[in-house]
C-alpha cells in the first residue's frame, strides 16, 4: 500500500505518520497549501470545498493551539467541526478507545482529528473504524501535520523544496520524547535535508540513525554550520520529574541566547513548533527575517487545509466511489 494509509473496507484515507505519504503526495500537499496561501492573500479566505463534511476533533490531551489550527483549517474549507470533549481521565479510566471512536462514527463524522497521549492511537483508530483519521500528535510517536507545515515554511523560505537538498537543520531539545523531531526527521530526510539531532545524552534516542539523522550532544559544535536551528519546546515537568539534566544545566548548554545567536551562520533561520518557553530554549529577540516562528503558525493552518482537502475532497471523487471494492 503506498500513499495515505487507506482503510481497505471504507476506502477512507488517513494521515497517521509521515510514512503514510509518498513523495509525490507531499509535493501535492505543498502545492495545495500554496493555493490556499494565494486565496488568503486575495479575498477568498473561506470556501465551500468541504461543505457537506463533518470533521470531529478528539483531543485526549489538552492543546488549544493545535485544536484551533485544525478547527480553523476545516472551517475555512466550509466543513462543520464538532469537538468531542474527552479528557485524559477517560483514558486512564480505561474507557475503550474504540467505543469512543464508534460514537464519533455514529455521529456521522467523516474525519476525526486525534491527539492522544499514547503512541499509535490514531493509527489504531484508522484500522479499527471506517473514519478518516488525522494524527494531531500521539505520545512520543509523530505529529505529521506539524512537520508538513514546517516543510511548507522551509520550502517558502528557501525558494522551493528543490533548494532544500543542500541544507542542514539542527533539531534541539528533548529528542527522546519529541514527536515533532520524529516526524520532521522522517520528512526532511526525504528531501535531502541533513538532520542533526541535538540534546543532552539523557534526552537522546538510543539509535539516532534509525531516524535517518546524525546526532550531537553539543549545540556549540553544530550551531555555526546549520541553515536552520529548530528549537523544541522543553517540558519543565519532564526535567523536574527525575531527568538528569536540570533546567539550569539545560539552558547553559542548549539555550539560544545572544552569544549563541551571534555564532549562527549569517542567513540561517530559527524555527519552533510553539508555544515558546521564553527563558528556557530561547532567550534572545530574533529579527523578523531570521525567525519563521509566526510563519509556522500561519502555514500550519494552510497545510492542515491541504490535508483535509486531500483526504476528504479527493476521497469523494475516487475514494468514495472505490468504497466496497476490497483489496488495495
Amino acid at each position: 500500500m503506498t500513499g495515505f494509509f487507506s482503510n481497505p473496507v471504507s476506502g477512507r484515507r488517513s494521515l497517521t505518520q509521515i510514512s503514510d505519504l509518498s513523495d509525490s503526495e507531499v509535493v501535492d500537499l505543498l502545492g495545495r497549501a500554496e493555493i490556499y496561501r494565494k486565496q488568503e492573500l486575495g479575498t477568498r479566505r473561506f470556501s465551500d470545498e468541504l461543505k457537506d463534511f463533518v470533521v470531529a476533533t478528539l483531543f485526549f490531551e489538552g492543546s488549544t493551539r493545535t485544536r484551533l489550527s485544525f478547527t480553523l483549517a476545516a472551517e475555512r474549507l466550509g466543513a462543520r467541526v464538532i469537538d468531542l470533549a474527552v479528557s485524559a481521565s477517560s483514558v486512564s479510566k480505561g474507557e475503550s478507545l474504540k467505543d469512543t471512536c464508534d460514537t464519533v462514527s455514529a455521529l456521522g463524522a467523516d474525519a476525526v482529528v486525534v491527539r492522544h497521549p499514547n503512541e499509535g492511537a490514531p493509527l489504531q483508530i484508522a484500522s479499527w473504524t471506517s473514519l478518516a483519521v488525522v494524527n494531531a500528535g500521539d505520545g512520543c510517536h509523530e505529529h505529521p501535520t506539524q512537520a508538513l507545515g514546517d516543510l511548507f515554511s522551509l520550502s517558502s523560505a528557501f525558494g522551493g523544496v528543490g533548494n532544500l537538498a543542500t541544507k542542514k537543520i539542527a533539531i534541539v531539545g528533548d529528542i527522546l520524547h519529541s514527536r515533532v523531531a520524529r516526524s520532521l526527521s522522517a520528512l526532511l530526510g526525504r528531501f535531502g535535508v541533513k538532520v542533526v539531532l541535538v540534546g543532552p545524552p539523557d534526552m537522546m534516542v538510543d539509535r539516532p540513525s534509525a531516524l535517518g539523522a546524525e546526532f550531537s550532544y553539543d549545540l556549540d559544535e553544530v550551531i555555526g554550520e546549520v541553515d536552520v536551528l529548530y528549537l523544541l519546546r522543553i517540558q519543565r515537568e519532564r526535567i523536574q520529574g527525575g531527568y538528569h539534566s536540570s533546567i539550569d544545566s539545560y539552558t547553559r548548554r542548549f539555550q539560544l541566547d545572544q552569544k549563541r545567536y551571534l555564532k549562527m551562520a549569517p542567513k540561517s533561520i530559527v524555527m519552533h513548533p510553539g508555544p515558546v518557553n521564553r527563558g528556557v530554549e530561547l532567550a534572545v529577540k530574533l529579527p523578523e527575517e531570521r525567525s519563521l516562528i509566526s510563519e509556522q503558525v500561519r502555514n500550519g493552518v494552510l497545510m492542515r487545509m491541504a490535508v483535509f482537502s486531500k483526504i476528504l475532497a479527493t476521497a469523494s471523487d475516487d475514494g468514495r466511489s472505490q468504497r466496497g471494492i476490497t483489496g488495495d
Binding site: V91, N118, V205, A210
Partner: protein, 455 residues
C-alpha cells in the same frame, strides 16, 4: 475397541538418531512393534506416506487462564487447541487469579485440570503472589506432588530469593524456571529496544535485560546446585551463556517459542497489538540468530508461551495492551516455517550428502538438510520438552502409543477462525505457514484425523 491392531505405515518415524522409514504397530494403549515393514494383515492401516511420525508434543509453557479468566480461555478450548496442535501434555503456568502459591490452591486446580481431555500439569509459583518477596512453601507443595516452580509473567528480581529458590530446588529435586527479565530495565517497556522502538517512540527493553538475569542465575546455580529452566529465551547472549553453563555440567535447560523463531520487531511498525508479547519480539538479526542456534541444537524444547487474552485487553493503545499471543495450535507450523527459512549452512550440507539421506528425504519431498532440521524440531517439541519436566517419551515398543503425524510440505494460511481459542490474539493471521498436524493418537486412541478432532 480392545484387541484392534493399528499399523501406521509409510511414514518417517522420529528416533533419537534421526527420522527413519519405519512402521508402527499399536495395540490397546501401547506401541507393540516398530520396524521397517510390519505385516498389517488383519489390522487397520493408517497411511502416513509423505509424513513424519513423532511422539505427541509436550508444551512446557502454557497459560491456561484457569482459574480466573474464562473469558480468555476455558479448559475445553485449551484442550481442543492442544490436541489439534499435536500435543498430549501441557504445563500450566502459575500466574493465574489467584496465583498458584499454596498447596490448597495447587491441589484444587490440579483436580479440575485432571478432567481435561488433554493432560495438564500445574506449576506452582516461586514466591507468594508472585511478588518476588517470600518463597512459597516448597516442602509442602513438593509433598503434594508439585515439581515445577516458576513466577512466569515476571522474573524473580531479588538475587537472594532466587538463591533460596535454587537451594530448594537442590534440596527437593525439583525444577525452578525463570522468566529472565530485569525489572528495572523492563520498566515501562512495551517492545524491544531497537530501530523500530526509536521510530515508534515506544519505550524499548534491551536484550541485556534478559541475558543479565540469565548470567546472574547461572552464578547462583553454581553456588547452590539445583535445576534451572530458562523460559522463552529471546536474547542472543542468553544462548551463549546457557551453552557455556551446560558445557560446565550445570543442570540447566532452555526453551524457545515459535514466535521468537519466526517473527521480529519490525512487525510492530503499525502498532498491531497482536505482536505485543513478553519477552518482546527482537530484531531481525537476533531472530535469525535464534533460529540458527535452535537448528544447531542449543535449546532443549520449543514451548508455546500460549497466552490468550480477551479482545478488549488487546484493543487498547499499544503501551496499555496486554502482552501475549496464542500459539498452541499453530506451534508446529510456525516453528517449521521458521526452520525452513535459513539457507543450508556448509555444515548442514556436508553432513547430509550420502545417497541414503537423499533417498529418505526424497520420500517426503525435502532436502536432506531439511530432514535433519525437522528431526531437531520434533525432538524439541516431543522428547526434549518431556525431559524438561522429567519424563521420558519415545516411539519404542512397550511405550505409550501417543503419536502425531505431520505433513511437513503442506501449506496453510493462518486464520483465526480455524483456531479453537476464545481469544483472538493470533499473530499468524494471513501468514502462509508450512507444515500441518494431520493425525494423532493419544494412548492408542485416534483423537485426530485429517486435522480434525474425534472423541
Amino acid at each position: 475397541m480392545s484387541g484392534e491392531k493399528v499399523v501406521v505405515k509409510g511414514g518417517l518415524v522420529l528416533k533419537p538418531a534421526g527420522l527413519f522409514a519405519l512402521d508402527i504397530a499399536i495395540e490397546g494403549e501401547v506401541i507393540t512393534e516398530v520396524s521397517p515393514a510390519i505385516d498389517a494383515f488383519g489390522s487397520r492401516v493408517i497411511d502416513a506416506t509423505g509424513c513424519v511420525v513423532s511422539t505427541s508434543f509436550y508444551d512446557t509453557h502454557t497459560h491456561s487462564r484457569y482459574p480466573g479468566d474464562s473469558e480468555a480461555e476455558t479448559i475445553d478450548t485449551l484442550s481442543e487447541q492442544g490436541l489439534l496442535g499435536g500435543y498430549q501434555y501441557l504445563l500450566a503456568m502459575a500466574n493465574t487469579e489467584p496465583t498458584i502459591d499454596s498447596v490448597s490452591i495447587w491441589k484444587a486446580v490440579r483436580e479440575e485440570l485432571r478432567k481435561a481431555p488433554i493432560e495438564v500439569d500445574q506449576a506452582a509459583s516461586i514466591t507468594l503472589g508472585r511478588k518476588g518477596e517470600r518463597l512459597v512453601d516448597f516442602v509442602s507443595l513438593v509433598q503434594a506432588g508439585a515439581s515445577f516452580f516458576t513466577d512466569d509473567g515476571t522474573g524473580v528480581g531479588s538475587t537472594k530469593i532466587m538463591y533460596e529458590a535454587l537451594k530448594m530446588s537442590e534440596l527437593l529435586g525439583v525444577t525452578v524456571a525463570q522468566h529472565a527479565q530485569d525489572p528495572y530495565l523492563f520498566e515501562g517497556a512495551s517492545m524491544n529496544l531497537g530501530a523500530t522502538s526509536v521510530r515508534l517512540g515506544l519505550i524499548g527493553e534491551p536484550e541485556a535485560s534478559e541475558s543479565s538475569m540469565v548470567a546472574r542465575d547461572i552464578e547462583l546455580l553454581k553456588a547452590t546446585g539445583g535445576r534451572l529452566h530458562v523460559l522463552h529465551v529471546s536474547a542472543r547472549e542468553s544462548i551463549n551463556l546457557i551453552r557455556m553453563a551446560r558445557n560446565e555440567g550445570l543442570r540447566i535447560s532452555a526453551e524457545v517459542t515459535p514466535h521468537h523463531l519466526l517473527l521480529d520487531d519490525s512487525l510492530l511498525c503499525n502498532f498491531d497489538t497482536s505482536f505485543k508479547v513478553n519477552p518482546p519480539l527482537r530484531s531481525k538479526s537476533t531472530q535469525m540468530a535464534i533460529v540458527a542456534s535452535a537448528i544447531r541444537g542449543d535449546f532443549d524444547a520449543i514451548a508455546t508461551d500460549h497466552a490468550p487474552h480477551p479482545y478488549h485487553s488487546k484493543q487498547r493503545p499499544f503501551s496499555q495492551a496486554s502482552f501475549g499471543m496464542i500459539g498452541l495450535q499453530s506451534a508446529f507450523s510456525a516453528s517449521w516455517t521458521a526452520f525452513s527459512e535459513p539457507p543450508a549452512s556448509p555444515t548442514e550440507t556436508a553432513i547430509a550428502t550420502d545417497h541414503w539421506s537423499h533417498r529418505v528425504a526424497d520420500r517426503i519431498g525435502l532436502e536432506p538438510y531439511e530432514l535433519q532440521r525437522l528431526h531437531r524440531l520434533l525432538e524439541m517439541m516431543g522428547p526434549g520438552a518431556a525431559r524438561v519436566v522429567g519424563r521420558r517419551i519415545g516411539i519404542e515398543p512397550d511405550m505409550q502409543a501417543s503419536i502425531v503425524i505431520c505433513d511437513p510440505t503442506a501449506q496453510s494460511v493462518g486464520k483465526i477462525e480455524d483456531i479453537a481459542s476464545n481469544s483472538t490474539n493470533f499473530p499468524y493471521e494471513g501468514r502462509t505457514l508450512r507444515g500441518k498436524v494431520v493425525a494423532g493418537f493419544v494412548r492408542g486412541k485416534e483423537i485426530l484425523k485429517e486435522g480434525k478432532l474425534w472423541f
